[in-house]
Every structure is written in structure tokens, then in C-alpha cells.
Amino acid sequence: MTIATIFLLSGSFRSALYILGFGMFIYGLSGLTGPRTAVRGNRIAAAGMAVVIAGTLLRPHVDNWALIVGGLAVGSAIGIPAARLVRMTQMPQMVAIFNGVGGGAVALIAWVEFRSTHGYDHTATYIASFSVCAAIVGSVSFWGSGIAFGKLQELITGRPVSLGRLQSPLNGALAVAAVACGAAIVSGMHQEPWMVALLLASAGLGAALVLPIGGADMPVVIALLNAFTGLSAAATGIALDNAAMIVAGMIVGASGSILTNLMAKAMNRSVRAIVAGGFGGADTASVAAAGAVASGAVRSTTAADVAIGLTYAHQVVIVPGYGLAVSQAQYALRDMAKLLEAAGVTVKYAIHPVAGRMPGHMNVLLAEAEVPYEQLVEMDDINPELPRTEVVLVIGANDVVNPDAHANPQSPLYGMPIIEAEEAQSIVVLKRSMRPGYAGVDNPLFLDPKTTMLFGDAKASLVAITEELGALTGPTGAGSRL
């Protein structure tokens, strides 16, 4: 072996590669602050990952080459098509399942560490402790994410599945059981059944935490589980004395925590209330409320009238909600917006932080339909503009424009930041029916004298409006693009 080869295979060189790798993670992630630098940033982070994986394999002697390469190949064979084929509306469940397998990997690694050291025999207590923590959190994350995936993919019911008052004691008991097994292992119980019991209790805990949570709260749960997996990866890094894993895990832990808080705030709920299943009762309320909405005071309108109102406006602000994505109406919406722009109307999209099914999801859906990034305006920036906006078009959104969030202290939405659509000069709501939103709360905006409702499927309504617009703006407006 030459001196150069010895150096390349040494621990120092590996450490240098690790430092380079996590430098690339941080530099890459900082690129995500803007759409122009984001693609490059993500690729730099991915290259950083390649560097640390390559660094790990640079050893004087590597056992089990076949298993390592085989595992990497099989994982790529699963991951690549999944990432290429997933639809943008399915992004939340994709993130959930990727997060889940990460957590599963953490738990399995901890289990193998336990086995190979014969139950952490002759292992420093702190290493055993961190490894046990990783096993618990990883297992919770794997099973919790799996349930979240099932709910979002509608493999299991999206409704809360709860034991009612027994739920909290059950969760508590499972948590205590998992921690007790962990404590027993660290304090010297070397038999494998302890570890298996720990993994099973954590698995039960993961499922019991997520099952009672309704579909609307799922994004918060995914962000939370993402943070969990990150922290468990960091714990594994401490147990294996691997700096790259510690740094990467902590970055994910930090980002997951920030996103969890931000989402919970935007949905007007505390993380604790969501995890405790505090919103579970709302679904029954929504069924009851659906029948109770007064339909008499609602003014319905036609596509032709909406089109006329839109052409007379200086500025139209569109408030898209998940209903837009469900009916795949992004493209119809973009076509309508293009016609309006050609007629000299300024079109903007008001994006609530929780529009869609995860933070920023609506932006992805609109970006897919080639809506320019500059037209997507965040809630705090659009609200001051709304009083001088002639028409606000609410499409498949409900709770995020509910004025009760400001006006009615009795409302469960009270205090939630909203897009203040009621401040606009007129409001048009595209909606399938008078059913209340996910929170199961009536929306006084629909009864406002300035509001008209266009009932029907969002896509069909938008296509109808676009046709009317084409007729109104005539060959000068529409001819250039038809």
C-alpha cells in the first residue's frame, strides 16, 4: 500500500469527507431560501450525501460488500420510481412514507447494535442510552408514519380512530412500557426479549398516537414525526460516534420542530392538543352542522355573471384551497388567470400557510400548473391589499377565509390567522355545496351581502368562467392564445 492509499483509507480522511459532506448539507439547505437557488441547493445537499456515503466505504477492509451494494441498489430501485411517479397532490403521503422508512432504519440499526454487543454488554452507559432512545423514537416514527401514510392514501379511514377517554391512559401506558424496557436494558438486562418488547411497545405507541388524529391535522403530525426521525438519527450518530449523522439529524430535528410549530399556529391549535387527539370530536360536529346551515340567505350566481365581474376589476385575488387540488382544477385556473391578465387585470394568488395538506403544498400544486412564483403572495402580504381588491375568488377554501377567526370568540377558529377575504369589495366563492370545512365550523363569509356563491365542481366552474371570459374579451384578448 502506498502512503497515499493509507491516507485515503484512514479515519482522518474520512472525517475530512464528513466535514465536507455536512458543509454541503448546510450550504445546500441555505439555497432553499429562494426559488432560483433552490434546485442547485438541493443537488448540493444530495452530492453531500454521496460524499459521506463514499467516505464511509473508504476503509482498509470492508466486510459484506455484496449486502451493502445490494441494499443500496434495492433501495434505489424502490425510491427512484416512487419519486418519479408520485403525483403532487400525493406529496404529503410520500413524505410520510419516506420519513417512516428512515425511522424504521434507525430502529433496526439500534436492534442490531443490541444484538452484536450482546445487549450492550461492556458498552458505555451513555452509548446504550442513546441507542435505546433511537430505538424507541425510530420505532414510533416508523409505525406512526405508516399509519399517517395509510390515512392520507385512504388505505384506512381518515377519520379519527380513538378509544375516547381510554386513549390517553393507553398512550401513557405504552410510553411507560417502552421507557421501562429501555431503562432495564441500560441497567444491565442483556436478554433479547427486552429489546423486542421495547420495539413492540414503541410500535404500539406510534400507532396509538396517530390513529386518533383526523386527516386535517395530519400535516402537523408528519412534520412532528419528521423531527422525531431526525433526532433519532442524531441519537444513532452519538451511539455510533458518527459526526455526519449527528449533524444531519440535528438539522432535520430543527427544521421539523420549526415547521411543526408554524403549522400548528396557522391551524390555531397547540401541538399538544393535536397529539392528545383534542380535535377528534370535530368530525361528528361537522356532520351535524352540515344540515344546519341556513341556505336561504345565500346568493348563488352563474359563471357568466362571475366573468363579467372579473373583467371589470383592476385586481383579482384568488384564494385556493385543497378543494382546488382535489378536483385537479389548477390548470383550468391558470388558463382563466391568463385570459384575465391579457385583458389587463392584475391576478394574484393568496396563499394561506396551511392551504393544501402540508406547509407550502398549495405553492407546489400551483407551480406544477406553471403559475409564476411572483404571483403567489403570502397571507401577511396580501391582506393589506384586499380592501382595494375588487374581486376575491375563493376556490375550494373555507376555514382559511372564515371571518369568525377574528370576530367570534366562541368559534373554535378564533385567533387563527386568516386571509381577510371579507375586506374585499366583492367575494365569489366556488364551492361544491354548503358543507362546512374540515373544522366543521359555519362560515359567515358565505352569508355576507358582498358574497355570491357559484356551486359545482371547481374545475367545471372554472372552465365555464373561462369560456364566458373568452366571449367577453373577444378576439383581441382570447384570439392570441386560442
Binding site: N64, G71, V106, R115, S116, M245, I251, Y373
Partner: protein, 111 residues
């Protein structure tokens, strides 16, 4: 060793917090799937256990190989899907976009 690692934990936590809190709302979904890909770094743990021969016996080897598969799915899938999403946010200068009102011209209606 523990102390060094705990210092790394604290510093990485701070760096993560400051970098991530600058990301705008609009890019939060790609951020989530991007950071999601990064915790796939646990694949390193699996590789280390296999490469150093720590994982002995067929059952342990099977478990840790599954961990490598899981971690790889997490890393590869996560980065690819993030890339796909971010490509959509890229400004398209040569697209078929015509005469769109620039956001700054708020009050320029043709009479």
C-alpha cells in the same frame, strides 16, 4: 467523545435553526421533503455495521440490510422528489407567457 458529540449536537441544532427559519412559507413543502431526505443519512449507520463486520449472524445481517434498503429509499427518493418539485418553481424565461401584468403595476387598467 461524549462531550465532543454533545457539542456537535448543540452547534448543529443552532445552525439548522438559523438556516431553516430563513426559508419562506412558499418553499416549505420542498424543505420538508429535502430535510426528510437528509435524515436518510441513517443509511451510514447500516453501512458501518455491515462494513466493520459488527453485524454477525444471519438474522442481524438481514436486519441491517433491510435498514440499508430503508435508508436508501429515504435518501434517493427524498432528494429526487424534492428536485422534481423545485424544478417547477424555477422561473421559465422562455415559456409561452405573454403580456403578463408585472406585479408592480397595480393600477394600470385599460379604461
Amino acid at each position: 467523545m461524549l462531550l465532543t458529540n454533545l457539542a456537535t449536537v448543540a452547534l448543529a441544532g443552532f445552525v439548522g435553526f438559523f438556516v431553516i427559519s430563513k426559508v419562506p412559507n412558499t418553499l416549505h413543502t420542498p424543505l420538508m421533503s429535502g430535510t426528510n431526505a437528509i435524515h436518510g443519512i441513517v443509511v451510514l449507520g447500516g453501512i458501518v455495521l455491515l462494513a466493520t463486520g459488527v453485524a454477525d449472524g444471519a438474522f442481524s445481517k438481514a436486519l441491517v440490510t433491510i435498514a440499508v434498503v430503508f435508508g436508501t429509499v429515504n435518501v434517493v427518493g427524498g432528494f429526487l422528489v424534492t428536485d422534481r418539485m423545485l424544478e417547477m418553481f424555477k422561473p421559465r424565461p422562455r415559456g409561452p407567457r405573454s403580456s403578463d401584468g408585472t406585479p408592480s403595476q397595480k393600477q394600470d387598467r385599460p379604461a
